[in-house]
Symmetry: C2
Subunit: 351 residues, 2 copies
DNA sequence: AGGTAGTGTGGGAGCGCTCCCACCAGTGAT
DNA sequence: ATCACTGGTGGGAGCGCTCCCACACTACCT
């Protein structure tokens, strides 16, 4: 059969052609059965399936990719060093959700780190070669060139956490605004009124939305918005510590703090302790993320939980749709697909 | 050019043929340049490279895979649930090493979890489709059927931690025997003589080698081997706690313990505290792995460090060799490639 | 009777590479 | 002058699929 000698290949996997011969049908028909086309009679389908089973036929993905111009693979791109990936539960939860959504698909998931310049160059090369049908982008900064590259290469992509209110890419996010409101309203319902807010990095859209939520919750409660109660952090512990110190100096009568992340809250807690404030007696504290830190803090931290696993699943849904009906770019963007998931307040003893 | 209509494909990536035309050479010559064949004159090579640059040519991997019957991808298979993968630093270190060794290669790394039965079935399907050129197997239990499946499919594989002294697959491991000796000799040099050993899971070959190392170090020191000083653990904290309690009951005069892992040592430490023993005054303690646990224990734990990142790099080296000179199975196995890396004792205040 | 739609089905053409054979200089030995 | 070679090169054939056109065959109208 191999007319030009034994080139590689020892066992010799069966091909479509062989299955077709075995089943007594044509090549096209076998292809139709394999790909689940409805235009095949039941009898023929059964015959083909039997032949597939007998021969142990497994489609050759390379041939399929070449002929159909698709790869059946998508990439989860993490624009961070691996270290952060392993350190933050955000990523492993995301991965879990993505994996579960993909498990009843033929799609293969590739995990790609693009933290260093070198890794980014490799990724660009990889994408240029169109080795994936779509890309999942997590944790993207406002000025990242990756989304543009993807658009230029016409590779479908979904982003977790839009870069702005005018995000053009389909996105899945948790309700940062609503989550912030939950946090503040919870503190108010506990009888607090001098509620401060330590923000996240303000070049991250989600952090801004949390500020918005804080502002409107305060305002709706008739307390007005005292800009002096807002201090910028950067999602780090050190930033939280610094901001808290500033706030205490400015407003010694603060009786509650909403921090934009659990790590930030940990920093704030340290500053509060330094200043001799008791939690929650003197100052109630609420974080964001409901990470392991929240559970293990002393006292355990009330925090706003994001459904990260669910977000991963939704991102896959969006991406697969995008890949499936890959249409001319012109018609995209009109029907923006931005998905927002609800958050949940997990109440513990810090508030 | 596309004679049968615009099938997908909007931009139209340039092909080998187009590059050849541009450079005024034949298809074969361009292929030779792309693949770095030496049989091309310098002038021709330059012309082709210029054409490649001008056109922004990127090889089509699917076509290459089909024609050459290779995928340029290898899989790192983790036969554990994702949770363990993220929890144990072993895996992230391994991944780091593997990634760095691969970074100056064309090879793509796939991370595949095979913890559940479902995932394993998917993996089997994946391997049957020959979607990777080779497989890296980490953390394989003695009775895992995966190695046999790989052998049957004739897919090159490298294993981390041989399953027995008769391992047929190429493997990379740290020197468990030597590491155990280092630990025991260290304790003896500190003036201890009643040294106990809490083992790992004994169906893991590496754990057995550690016992061997312990035995021979004791015996070489002229202390003889008291089997009563050896108690089986299972790499878990609970197992370590239980074993330590048993040992203390049996030999209240123990003055040192070598635990087969840091986690085990943490369990042992708890049992020692329960029994009112001070570390290291009454009992010196040494662990294995030099994980984060060791650094954060109270007191900091002396531990045997394995060069995990280096192991990852070596595994890649072995695998790439294996993939490159993929020869008839018959000649394999004769020249077994088992690699063993040295360990290092990291001394801290627990001993 | 002759249309007019469907359903199934076979198989040609083509996806963009790699492999390998043929061939064409040159160069030196015979 | 003839016969090896040897470094370079062109291009046919083929990898195993998917796509789509063509061609049955049925129905069910006019």
């Amino acid at each position: 059969m191999a007319t030009h000698g034994a080139r590689g290949r020892s066992g010799g996997r069966p091909t479509l052609e062989e299955v077709a011969a075995r089943a007594g049908v044509g090549r096209g028909t076998v292809s139709r059965v394999i790909n689940g086309s409805p235009r095949v009679s039941d009898a023929t389908r059964a015959a083909v399936e039997a032949a597939v089973a007998e021969l142990g036929y497994v489609p050759n993905t390379a041939a399929r990719a070449l002929a159909a111009n698709r790869t059946d693979a998508i990439a989860l791109v993490v624009p961070e060093p691996e270290t952060r990936f392993f350190a933050e539960p955000y990523f492993s939860d995301m991965l879990k959700g993505v994996g579960s959504a993909l498990s009843d698909t033929e799609m293969q998931l590739l995990l790609i780190f693009a933290g260093s310049d070198r890794e980014r160059a490799r990724l660009a090369q990889y994408l240029a070669a169109h080795r994936v049908d779509g890309v999942l982008l997590v944790s993207v900064h406002a000025d990242d060139p990756l989304p543009d590259l993807l658009a230029q290469l016409e590779i479908p992509a979904v982003i977790s956490g839009p870069r702005s209110s005018a995000e053009t890419l389909p996105s899945v996010d948790s309700d940062n605004y609503g989550g912030a409101r939950q946090a503040v309203e919870h503190l108010l319902s506990r009888g607090r009124s001098r509620v401060a807010h330590i923000t996240g990095r303000l070049d991250v859209y989600g952090a801004q939305r949390r500020v918005d939520g804080y502002r409107e919750a305060m305002s709706d409660a008739g307390l007005g918005v005292d800009e002096g109660l807002i201090e910028a952090g950067d999602f780090t512990e050190e930033g939280g510590h610094r901001a808290m110190a500033v706030l205490l100096e400015r407003h010694p009568d603060i009786d509650a703090v909403f921090a934009a992340s659990d790590v930030t809250a940990a920093g704030a807690r340290r500053a509060l302790r330094d200043a001799g404030r008791r939690i929650p007696e003197d100052v109630a504290l609420v974080g964001y993320d409901d990470s392991a830190i929240a559970r293990h803090m002393e006292p355990p931290l009330t925090s706003v939980r994001q459904p990260i696993e669910e977000m991963g699943r939704r991102m896959i849904d969006l991406l697969l749709t995008e890949v499936a009906d890959r249409r001319p770019l012109a018609s995209r963007g009109l029907e923006r697909r931005q998905m927002v998931l609800a958050t949940e307040l997990v109440s513990r003893s810090s508030s």
